[in-house]
Symmetry: C2
Subunit: 159 residues, 2 copies
Amino acid sequence: MAESFDCNLATPAQKREFEEKALGELKARGYRMTMTRLQVIRALGETHRALSPYEIHDRIVQAGGRIDVVSVYRILATLEETGLAHHVASVNGYIPCRASKAHGFQQRLVCRRCGCVTEVALPQTCLETLEGGAESLGFQVETARLELIGLCGHCVGAS
Amino acid sequence: MAESFDCNLATPAQKREFEEKALGELKARGYRMTMTRLQVIRALGETHRALSPYEIHDRIVQAGGRIDVVSVYRILATLEETGLAHHVASVNGYIPCRASKAHGFQQRLVCRRCGCVTEVALPQTCLETLEGGAESLGFQVETARLELIGLCGHCVGAS
DNA sequence: CTCGCTGCAAAAAATTTGCACATTG
DNA sequence: CAATGTGCAAATTTTTTGCAGCGAG
């Protein structure tokens, strides 16, 4: 029998780590820690899937919490600005940024089957190639949004 | 005095090329060539900026054309499916795909100042690095959405 | 106690759907 | 002529805004 694994369920440790990181970062930036923000942070942290504002709202409500969708939007904006969450275009949702200090660019591996998103640092060589290529066209790179779509390790075998 | 250059204005040749490519591809796929589609194709082809469905609609109307926004949506869906247009997430708009036959992945250089988007093929080495890295995590890459955001050659100097 | 944050109400914008009519090949 | 494609009307969904009241520090 196959090991039970849910691409969408983060481990308690991962969840806790993100929560601590987020709380610390928000405090450091002078934001207030509120129940509403904590709920969004927890909703983001407990999964590996990208969640839309409405999904986040629904999850919180279903878990017995209470929050308005408008607040979810505003909190997501704050989290993005702070680098604590990233928007994933190919699935139109937000994921928690679990990377330590965002050195260099991050690439996101998006599974088109289970929807999980994994963030990985962009290899230095690759970064140089990309920046070099752009530079040769006179383009100066500042940020990147790199998404690789395919099948994650757990879905490659399955089905 | 500076050379007059408009990042947003494609040359007549570029415009013509894309139009021909699009017409050929659509015909090859069995789609009918209609005035409505032609209008969208021309609107896309005449600029280097990513255009939203409404922008496309407005441009067509302002040029004396006639089309419903709903049709713009449907036609964009067709063009994307056909690989004739790509959605650019960082600016939320569509660009014409001018690449010949889409060998390998394309990266998009998005200027945050003038909004122009340039498509460039991803260097082979880079592609291999990315795929290799993903593979080592058990992830099998199928497609990519690579956007580099920064300043284009014309905007680096300016301002 | 003060300023930031949230909920509520509502508007605005973006996207989708159904169906009758027009148009292409 | 037979699909295919389009416009129109309308519903849905998503996102934004203003403001009064609550709550964190």
